[in-house]
Symmetry: C2
Subunit: 404 residues, 2 copies
């Protein structure tokens, strides 16, 4: 590590929402040894979303400076369910379900983290042997009142919604993970603030130096309103096709662009500052800035060529074909009745979403060459589902429907 | 079992504070099979007190009707500490400490329970193997809000006194004991009401028929004010010498006599009713009734001969020697400075409690034969501690001190 502690501190705390406490992080960096930087991973997640990349990319920054990323696969705690996400008690998962999920998620994460300086640990490794006595000892170290201070618990308690004792144990187990891996730093989203702080407390109770908490901002999803979330569906996943990611980001509300530039791209603060100024002066149109954002993100997960291709595809479909603004295209669920053996019956779909009066009307239009998918003419009566899902079905010049 | 279910019900619910629910107990008795009657035992207790005998004797009644007493030695839970007793978090005990305690307590309990129909179980047997997963599953079955309804928790929470999460787990573990031993009935003091009800709830959660809760009244201690308790010191222990038990009961406030007759003696309701009426009419003086109470209790734990002897001893010391009323004798702690190698220096003790002006004054009185212990003349300068502790030291006709 040739970078000085001060330079490291500047980089590592960039864009962080909280660093608790900064002095301790400075001390740890000055000591010069590789820090153990913990990140808990919910293995039940289907996708690594852009929201998730905010912390993962921060962890990568630690790796690049020679520190050790300690990824905790919460295989044990996933079986309990994390109450911080949902407002009701989540169902418990079986060991096999959790393992299958974890394998998929780790595969996706390998797109972001370096293979070196990476330690992947499953918390069943130490939580299983903890046993009755270990859990009871752990439970000695936290009070009911402090646990009830956690926002979601406080709300549910006030609303007389049930909170099981199991849920109270979750933050303690997560805190014990920090003891088990002797973490120097723990990363997380701001929604994890409470749990990360419990980790500090529990480490102290077990005689360790407490970890520094570095929490990262949450990003709103593509709807621009709610936090990006797989259950809400307003997410961008890093494994989605380049065109999909590009298209989704082009639909992002303008006011979120700069936040996305900061938290989800590799652009430097100087580059982002320039974009911000150009947008303000009018030298850069929002749509052009958004194209750069979409391209930068796609480049991270699909490479520069794919990013260029996505841009070209987007322009061909939406600009050159003079499709209406994305926001004006009505969305319909892909009609399940029209799907069989993985392919869609196009006339059936056209009728269902109102692009044709009848099946025979739909077939006629199809034969006349007046039907397009994402701007490309289509003539077959049946096409595979993935050639239609998420795309724009078009009849003539003016009638559109996005099948989602 | 030749006794009918109705007769059993009458006997078994006699003097109970609560039977929840009576119909279920009737059903279980009607089924005719031996019931499994659980009683949890705090192995950290030093003595089996008369307060404790209230539930132990009730359990014996079940045994005498052919039911099985299932005694749970809370060796595991004792290591956690039961928050229901103290108002602060109690310290954890080691396994060895708990085992030593348990052996002593079980020995004392054998004075009350029958050897037949007795099952002694240690809850470490099932709580140890429960493990992390088992504890978490158990914790699924109870909510934070319901646990906070327990009186002592509610008070401590309101007073902002810390309650550790460990303490919230205790009632669940105790409830799981009921699952492990498949109890049909659980006995306890009224102070255990909440925990006993948790047992019903937990049994249901694990697919068992819930136990019937039979709670017994608590008795006030010899001070007549506070619940009898080893920590308060206002107790009578069944292993105390016959004279001690007798003397302590003679100091009991009159208004507690009938309650003690009902809950701590073998007298029948008819006999007790007669005593009550005679006391009301004045046909029986309170002191005479109390002598009968003291004799009845001593008889239970030391036999009839010892009870007679204790009565005789009491009369000789306190009545024939015309000692003042017990209540008028001042109590002093046995002066530690006067004790060495298990014996007390009498002149030193006399001077310290004010029965002599100086050591030489004390020695003179001793030589003159004017010093008595429990009415018996004493001439030795040193006597073993147990010959003085709890007894009345007397100088001349009018000066007394009880050394406690």
């Amino acid at each position: 590590m040739t970078t000085t502690a001060t330079e490291q501190l500047e980089l590592l705390t960039r864009n962080a929402a909280e660093v608790i406490p900064t002095e301790e992080l400075t001390e740890k960096l000055k000591a010069g040894r590789p820090l153990r930087v913990k990140l808990g991973l919910d293995p039940t997640a289907e996708h690594v979303t852009l929201g998730w990349t905010v912390v993962l990319r921060k962890l990568r920054e630690f790796q690049d400076l020679g520190h050790t990323a300690v990824l905790i696969v919460g295989d044990y705690t996933a079986r309990i369910g994390d109450p911080s996400e949902a407002e009701t008690t989540r169902p418990m998962l079986t060991k096999d379900e959790v393992d299958a999920h974890a394998a998929r998620v780790l595969d996706q994460i390998s797109l972001i983290l370096a293979e070196d300086n990476l330690e992947i640990r499953r918390n069943s490794e130490w939580l299983d042997p903890l046993g009755t006595t270990g859990v009871l000892e752990l439970a000695t170290h936290y009070t009911v009142a402090r646990m009830l201070e956690r926002d979601d618990f406080a709300k549910r308690y006030a609303a007389e919604q049930p909170i099981s004792l199991r849920e109270f144990l979750y933050p303690l187990l997560q805190g014990y993970d920090s003891v088990a891996v002797r973490s120097d730093v723990e990363l997380g989203g701001t929604d994890q603030h409470f749990n990360l702080m419990v980790g500090r407390h529990i480490q102290r109770a077990y005689g360790q130096d407490p970890q520094v908490v570095v929490s990262m901002p949450l990003i709103e999803g593509t709807d621009g309103v709610k936090k990006m979330s797989q259950s809400v569906g307003n997410y961008v996943a890093v494994t989605e096709p380049a065109d999909e990611i590009f298209g989704k980001l082009m639909r992002l509300p303008d006011q979120l662009m700069i936040k996305y530039f900061r938290l989800t791209t590799a652009l430097t603060p100087i580059e982002i500052g320039a974009i911000e100024r150009d947008l303000e002066s009018g030298a850069l149109r929002p749509e052009a800035a958004k194209r750069r954002l979409a391209q930068s993100v796609v480049e991270l997960y699909h490479g520069a060529d794919a990013a260029d291709a996505a841009l070209t595809h987007f322009d061909r479909v939406f600009k050159n074909r003079e499709l209406p603004d994305e926001a004006d295209i009505a969305e319909f669920p892909l009609p399940a009745d029209c799907v069989a053996d993985g392919s869609v019956d196009i006339p059936c779909a056209m009728k269902t979403v109102g692009l044709a009066k009848s099946l025979s009307d739909a077939r006629r239009k199809l034969e006349q060459g007046g039907v397009r998918i994402d701007g490309e003419p289509v003539s077959e009566g049946r096409i595979p589902v993935d050639k239609l899902k998420g795309r724009v079905l078009q009849v003539g010049k003016r009638r559109f429907a996005r099948l989602v």
